[in-house]
Symmetry: C2
Subunit: 198 residues, 2 copies
């Protein structure tokens, strides 16, 4: 059905243009006109899909949350050990956030809308660090809740301190190296493959 296909492409073009615009000048500063100008799509076509800029933001945030859920499910489906799962999951997220402006905009919008702690990352980290403790991957004496909070703060901070999305993968890798040196049992290290490096 070519018409449905075209509609899908239009919707995707609007989301991409809005994400680029939000990424460049921020959600508040971006206007519907600037998004339309960037997408080359007419007002009529826009209103076929969305009611306003806010609705586009909502869709971007939703898409990010769905993506995150899918990523988590994929990684837990691999039946790796908990720490490898966590390193792999965060590394894939960093890689995708670095490259994909639609995902990046969605994350920012989701975090601002629902509060930084409730997009699922904090829960995912807590769960996997707890499983890592149960699996004996953490050093004796390490408090899993504390380790999860520090990891989460560092990963959130890595987004904040770098102005550019480039380098997020490296910043995440550094965090893993430093934090795991303190909390993981000697001898544990994620497969190079898991961190997304060839």
């Amino acid at each position: 059905m070519p018409q449905q296909h075209r509609a899908k492409l239009t919707r995707r073009a609007i989301l991409a243009a809005a994400a680029e615009e939000f990424d460049l000048i921020g959600y508040e500063a971006a206007t519907l006109s600037s998004v339309l100008r960037r997408s080359g799509i007419t007002k009529g076509a826009f209103y076929f899909h969305f009611t306003a800029k806010e609705a586009v933001a909502e869709a971007l945030a939703q898409q990010y949350l769905l993506n995150l859920t899918a990523m988590r499910q994929r990684w837990s489906g691999r039946s790796l050990d908990p720490l490898s799962t966590l390193v792999g999951l965060t590394s894939e997220a960093a890689r995708r956030l670095e490259r994909d402006v639609v995902l990046r905009a969605g994350m920012l919008l989701a975090c601002n809308r629902i509060g930084a702690e409730s997009d699922g990352w904090y829960e995912a980290i807590c769960e996997l660090v707890l499983k890592a403790t149960e699996a004996g991957q953490l050093r004796p004496g390490v408090d899993p809740a504390e380790a999860a909070r520090v990891l989460y703060a560092a990963l959130v901070g890595a987004h904040t301190v770098g102005d550019e999305p480039e380098g997020l993968v490296d910043r995440f890798e550094e965090i893993w190296r430093v934090v795991l040196a303190g909390v993981a049992r000697d001898g544990w290290r994620a497969d190079a493959e898991l961190t997304g490096r060839p």
Copy 2:
């Protein structure tokens, strides 16, 4: 000179009211009227000290930066080892940021104005971690620049992830425990006194 003293108190009251207002509803949303209402100070008295809301923000940011410089100088003057200096400095900052709304507002304003990396914290951390390496406080093989970046990300993240300023001291302490477990030589630990605990 009682008049000069009164002027000083008025200026301080304006800064405190503005800081509380910015802290509560954010700098953008706060208006000059809401600051005046909170401070109980007349427009005339306000304009004796400041030209506009922006000038109050500037003064708060400046005051924060001066405070930070003074704190750094005080801690380097104590001739402690580099890691103890760094833990002590960040712990004092956390304690003061937790309690002092004027400092907290100043930090946020300073960071937004000059970019999160240039309020001096990143440089302070890098410098002290490097000195810690030279003093043999870090484990062999630890890259000081990497350790400093991760620490900085975690400390910045600790501000972001907690909605409330309460708990900042605890979040900073956790970060030190987890990160130092990975990067500091065995046996090193900051004096309890340094972390500001009795």
